[in-house]
């Protein structure tokens, strides 16, 4: 196992040595070979030969996303260049009952873009045109494969940027962001992807094109856009996104604050938010995370810190001035022993480098690790952090904490050495116990990485059968044939009743005797 992010997981079905091909979430190779053939034929007629991949070696390039523990070779990969090509492939999938999975840059951390062995992987990496930067409207219209940071780059000259900034923003796609409702450090103040995507052109699982939302807000009718954002590719494929552009702030101040303990740093966070100051970001790293970051990028964080906060204030200069004075005071009152203000862009970049490299940096201090993603109410931070420390101590499994402190989104990194007997299982147990902690504190099992294949099994811990069944009413409306990224998000698919179009055989659950057809 390599030392990159997400090499392991506990949250979902623990696959162990079972090849994922054999699980219901991923389908079985060879199933509906005729259907795949037919989709391949359609694909080759609508797009260039290079956009259709059926060669087994080449197919393997796409076998996993950022959660590299799960690997499935897709039956077919297509790389459309236009909405029409993409829609034609999806239509062919619908006609032949072939499941499809959308993929942007493949950086997802919950296996959302894990292919189906019996399906088509639709990759958007050739749809990378920024169609419009509409300064007067404060909007951009982009294709799904466009890289997050490129939207900001294209808008900077106009004094604007795209606010949601996942740490992966140099490589992840807007389509993937939309599907995951991705967050980032600055979402504390500016909101998540769902607050910034105002329209999308969607290819439905039937292959139809629909426009949801657009340049103006409040489109009449149900807010289908709001439901599609964050639906992890299960309701169709987005072929454009109309996004909000945000004015670049007049002033930005980035501070690095050293504390003796996470308790102190947590108390400072609460004091800041409680006072009414809303920083653009408040990020926390504990001692172990700092150690890793130092080893990797030499970010020169305060010596001997038990925790650091990276706090960024932005906005109108006069407001930032005032907020800075308050933040400084709250940090000092809560035991800060060092407070550094970045004086220029280089210093600011250095402060952020430590934080943004944290996941990868952990690879320097541990051969393997699990990236967990859970949310708790902010006020529960000290308690939950202590509980995590206890878990770590009692199990002997090291846990590094890097997280969005402002909104209670934890990213515990559970360290282990896969070569050591029983270490993987111990780490998985700790990681799972952390999610349980989030749930018992009234939080959520994922704040930004999504459910995917990884946490589907955890959904019933957070939601009742009725809750899940109600969510799936939406899926049945969009995708009655259950072909759009099937097996993700929900532990058990709902049978949608009347399925328009072809149905070749009984629903797999019915066949397996796990459900009755009704």
């Amino acid at each position: 196992m390599s030392g990159t992010h997400g090499t392991q997981t506990t949250a979902g079905p623990v696959l162990g040595d079972t090849p994922p091909e054999a699980t219901s979430a991923t389908g079985e190779a060879g199933d509906n070979a005729a259907g795949i053939e037919a989709v391949g034929r359609v694909a080759r007629t609508v797009m260039p030969e290079t956009g259709v991949i059926a060669d087994p070696t080449q197919l393997r390039t796409y076998e996993c996303d950022g959660l590299a523990h799960y690997r499935v070779t897709p039956a077919l990969v297509v790389l459309p260049e236009t909405t029409e090509q993409l829609a034609a492939v999806v239509k062919a999938c619908a006609d032949h009952g072939v499941p499809f999975v959308a993929r942007g840059s493949g950086t997802g951390l919950s296996g959302g873009a894990l292919p189906r062995a019996d399906g088509v992987l639709v990759v958007t990496s050739r749809m990378r045109t920024i169609r419009e930067i509409r300064r007067a409207d404060q909007r951009a219209v982009v294709e799904p494969g466009v890289i997050n940071l490129d939207v900001t780059r294209a808008a900077t000259g106009e004094g604007y940027y795209y606010a949601p900034d996942p740490s992966s923003q140099q490589i992840c796609s807007i389509g993937g962001n939309l599907a995951e409702n991705s967050g980032g450090a600055h979402c504390l103040k500016y909101g998540f992807t769902s607050n910034h995507v105002l329209g999308t052109e969607l290819v439905t699982p039937q292959g139809d094109l629909v426009q949801l939302g657009g340049l103006a807000p409040d489109s009449p009718g149900y807010d289908l856009l709001g439901t599609v954002v964050g639906s992890e590719g299960t309701l169709g494929i987005a072929t454009t996104a109309t996004v909000r552009l945000v004015r670049l702030p007049e002033e930005v101040r980035t501070l690095l604050v050293g504390f003796h303990s996470t308790d102190d740093a947590g108390a400072a966070t609460s004091a800041i938010i409680g006072s009414g100051v809303l920083p653009a970001a408040i990020e926390m790293m504990d001692a172990l995370a700092i150690e890793a970051a130092e080893a990797a990028v030499h970010c020169n964080y305060p010596d001997g810190a038990g925790a650091v906060l990276v706090i960024e204030l932005d906005g109108a200069a006069a407001e930032v001035e005032h907020e800075y004075a308050l933040v400084e005071r709250f940090c000092q009152e809560n035991g800060a022993f060092e407070l550094r203000l970045a004086i220029d862009a280089t210093e600011r970049a250095l402060i952020w480098r430590g934080r943004k490299s944290a996941f990868a940096a952990v690879g320097r201090i541990s051969p393997d690790y699990i990236v967990q993603d859970g949310v708790i109410p902010r006020t529960a931070l000290p308690e939950v952090l202590r509980a995590i420390a206890e878990l770590s101590e009692s199990s002997g499994v090291r846990v590094a904490n890097v997280f969005h402190a402002g909104d209670g989104n934890l990213h515990p990194l559970v360290l282990f050495d896969g070569e050591k007997e029983g270490a993987t299982e111990a780490a998985e147990q700790v990681s799972g116990a952390i999610l349980d902690l989030c749930i018992t504190h009234g939080g959520a099992i994922t704040g930004e990485h999504g459910v995917g294949v990884d946490k589907a099994a955890y959904m019933p811990k957070m939601f009742t059968d009725d809750d899940l069944d109600t969510m799936q009413l939406v899926r049945c409306a969009f995708d009655p044939g259950n072909i759009s990224n099937p097996g993700k998000v929900f532990p058990t698919p709902r049978l949608c009743g009347e399925v328009p179009g072809k149905r070749k055989k009984a629903h797999p659950l019915v066949e397996a005797g796990l459900a009755d057809a009704f």
Binding site: A136, D137, Q138, E180, N181, C187, G191, F192, S194, N195, V210, Q211, L212, L215, A216, P217, D218, S219, P220, G221, Y222, D223, L224, L225, G226, T227, R247, P249, E250, I273, G274, G276, A316, A317, A318, E319, H322, V375, P377, R378, T379, G408, N409, G442, G443, A444, T446, E448, G450, M462, F463, T464, D467, D469, T470, M471, L473, V474, C476, A477
Partner: protein
């Protein structure tokens, strides 16, 4: 309903809910008479009412305080009014987490009072005073403040709903950040009671700013209004609201709200005054009519909601004015020029054809600029003679969503887009 079925319905509902009464004329929904009013006191009781209604084949229209019950189209039928006003408690204000959990029948004003005691607010305006949280969600009501923090979709983080078949479901949760499962709250917002009945909601809160200042400046032509709005939104004054008002005589005012710290607001006011130019006034209190829906100021007038991309502001204002002038109908406009959401009133005495003409011509221009036009409220004759919702992209998908949630069309049938 026949007398016999009314008796059966009354008995069935009374078994389900402690408070069931025969309806009076005042309970009619947008002119559609109703037979019974059920006032459940809990989510469970709401579910029981819906199960009973399902068993009896009754249509149901949810109601809060009824302040916006006349919005949308009149329902095809409304056997039962499901009155949520007994479910009026603010359940939990977690000040440290900046969230509030409330029953759907709670008055928005009560929620504001509760959270206000800790210096916080639910950052939603109340364009029609006296309404409930549920009504605000169902109609997606918004006001001037949407420029800074958005609308209900940006603030709702969790909800409890009852489906037409009486099944209770929750979505979201109590934390601001959460991507587990579909965000059903989004679907509920603006669904006009046609999808599910909301019984509880959880919102994120914001701190009440220490200082605020309202700036106003008159404008002559729509192009001037647009230029002022553009100047403000592209500057560094971070406006909380950018309003445009155009009175019946065509004269207008642009209004800007700045919120923040006293020193910050002071400095930004100076900058904004320069941007807005000569004739700018500022005050700590809102100018009269701030955030008031223009048609609520004159009984019987027709209320429109117009949306467009920001660059469409001048063309839309111009088109509406020209169309109204041509048919001789009095028009007033007020709304968020900074968000591209305007509200307009056409005078009460306007003939139906004239309204239809203004709607059609203005709608075309709104659509051209990426938006839409909806007739939200108006006299029965207008609603009957005008395409109130207009064309809706993705209507087929919306119908399928409705079919999944409410296959028997029990909830407020016909009130929403495309006859949903």
């Amino acid at each position: 309903m026949t007398t016999i079925s009314l008796d059966a319905a009354r008995t069935a509902l009374a078994d389900a809910c402690r408070e069931v009464a025969d309806a009076t004329a005042a309970d009619a929904v947008d002119g559609v008479p109703t037979a019974l009013v059920a006032r459940p006191g809990s989510t469970e009781e709401t579910a029981a009412v819906l199960r009973a209604a399902a068993a009896q084949g009754l249509t149901v229209v949810p109601r809060g305080q009824g302040t916006k019950l006349g919005w949308g189209r009149p329902p095809e039928s409304a056997d039962v009014v499901l009155d949520l006003s007994r479910m009026d408690r603010v359940l939990d204000h977690a000040a440290g987490d900046l969230i509030v959990e409330t029953q759907a029948g709670a008055l928005l004003g009560d929620v504001q009072q509760t959270v206000g005691s800790a210096g916080q607010r639910l950052a939603l305006d109340e364009p029609v005073p006296g309404g409930t949280v549920g009504g605000m969600l169902a109609t997606n009501a918004s006001g001037p403040g949407r420029v800074a923090v958005g609308t209900a979709r940006d603030l709702l983080i969790g909800c409890t709903v009852v489906r037409a078949d009486g099944v209770v479901a929750k979505a979201g949760g109590r934390v601001v950040k959460n991507v587990a499962g579909y965000d059903l709250g989004k679907l509920v917002i603006g669904s006009f009671g046609t999808l599910v009945v909301v019984t509880e909601a959880v919102f994120r809160l914001h701190p009440v700013p220490a200082a605020r200042r309202f700036l106003t400046v008159p404008f002559g032509a729509p192009e001037d209004a647009s230029a002022l709005v553009q100047a403000v939104v592209h500057a560094q004054v971070v406006p909380a609201a950018v309003e445009v008002e155009e009175r019946a005589d065509g004269s207008g005012t642009v209004g800007v709200l700045l919120e923040g710290t006293p020193a910050g607001v002071e400095a930004r006011t100076a900058t904004a005054r320069q941007l807005l130019g000569a004739g700018t006034e500022d005050a700590e209190q809102p100018p009269s009519g701030w955030g008031v829906l223009p048609w609520t100021e004159q009984a019987g007038s027709t209320g429109l909601k117009l949306t467009c991309a920001l660059s469409g502001l001048a063309p839309v204002l111009t088109a509406a004015r020209r169309a109204a002038d041509e048919v001789g109908v009095q028009l007033t406009v007020r709304g968020s020029g900074g968000a591209g959401v305007l509200y307009a009133a056409l005078a009460a005495d306007a003939p139906v054809d004239a309204v239809a003409a203004v709607v059609a011509r203005t709608r075309a221009v709104c659509t051209e600029h990426g938006g839409s036009l909806v007739v939200l409220d108006g006299p029965a004759a207008v609603k009957a003679g005008v395409d109130t919702w207009g064309p809706v992209p993705a209507i087929d998908l919306m119908r399928r969503v409705k079919e999944q949630f409410d296959p028997e069309r029990r909830l407020a049938p016909g009130r929403f887009v495309g006859g949903i």
